[in-house]
Symmetry: C2
Subunit: 216 residues, 2 copies
């Protein structure tokens, strides 16, 4: 997935390090606390240090679409315009680093490898969004849930046991479903012996191979 290692180039995980002399510029947040809101000025770019974050948009009539879940190491808040297009909230106790857009621009102007890192990260976000589109456009409810579980497992570097950081409503709004359908999908996966649900936010992937086959 990652490009071959190049000497002296930024590891994308540490893009901010070069621009942030004091790595203590952290924001600490509690459950459901807003980081920024849709329409607000996009002055900063963020990186999750610990915890997890959701971004979403809301339609006039209240329908909500969760755009992305962000975990430790993930960057968010790349907005090309002046305003944020989504709202970002912590899903649990979370800390994030911030950097002024201007500071990042300067870094990019000074160092070509930083530009490459930024491009890489944006492209990664684009890929995620494209996968999300495929999921919503052409997959059944169960396939969507399986896709999300595998995605969480991969991105939190868990293998068989995963801690689901979000509630059913967040899952539903990410997958374009209702909480009831998500719940039914999970129990049906459990009935088929593909997963186990020791607690409501803890999932055991009992047959990962079979689950992966379901989403190609």
């Amino acid at each position: 997935m990652l490009s071959p290692i190049r000497a002296k180039s930024f590891d994308t995980d540490h893009l901010f390090d070069a621009a942030l002399p004091t790595p203590g510029a952290c924001l600490r947040l509690t459950r459901d606390e807003e980081i920024f809101g849709e329409g607000e000025d996009a002055d900063y770019i963020y990186q999750v240090v610990s915890g997890s974050v959701r971004t979403y948009r809301i339609l006039r009539d209240g329908r909500r679409q969760v755009d992305a879940f962000l975990f430790a190491g993930d960057y968010f808040g790349w907005e090309m315009g002046e305003a944020h297009r989504v709202t970002a909230e912590a899903m649990c106790d979370t800390s994030v680093r911030m950097i002024r857009r201007g500071a990042l621009s300067d870094l990019v102007a000074r160092r070509g490898d930083a530009a490459r890192a930024v491009f890489h990260l944006t492209a990664e976000g684009l890929q995620r969004s494209q996968d999300h589109v495929l999921m919503l456009g052409r997959r059944s409810a169960i396939e969507r849930v399986v896709g999300l579980l595998l995605d969480i497992a991969q991105r939190t570097r868990a293998d068989a046991e995963i801690d689901v950081p979000m509630g059913r409503q967040d899952m539903a709004d990410y997958l374009g479903l209702t909480i009831e359908t998500v719940s039914r999908a999970l129990t049906s996966l459990q009935d088929e012996g593909l997963i186990a649900l020791p607690t409501v936010r803890h999932v055991v992937l009992k047959d990962r191979r079979a689950l992966e086959r379901m989403v190609l």
Copy 2:
């Protein structure tokens, strides 16, 4: 939408001009001709000169998800890895410009404003993808069709009369619907007097205000 004009910066429409001394490096394509395929090496970045292009992915069982429609001026083929993640095809007689990824990298390394232009374009693609997600996740069939019509109108700079460059199957696979549902949505919009369909690929937006209200 666009950032304020900066002296000496690239107009994103003309990003390639600086990197392409001979602007004749064009590829001419006919209907349904493939530009690149999923999994192939991503050596080039492309820009539509005239005509229109679709990008898509196909699932094992044949389900297809159209990722994007590209019109004159649009760039495509931004892949961060070595391989294309989608297939790109011309939807009609089309010509595209190409530039080696390496040449673009060089340009970006040499000129900071090119980096900004590239970032801008990638971010634009990301925004489109996010809007697509919202469409697929939380909108009804009719709302999706209206959204597509308005998007085409805007991006082809048409006001009331639009030429739909794609067939019903392409629309359906972009919107996560079936051709029958797309067709029914169009006739129901016609019945309500919101649009007219003089021919199958020609749509008149009779009440644009009302249509825009439908998608917020």
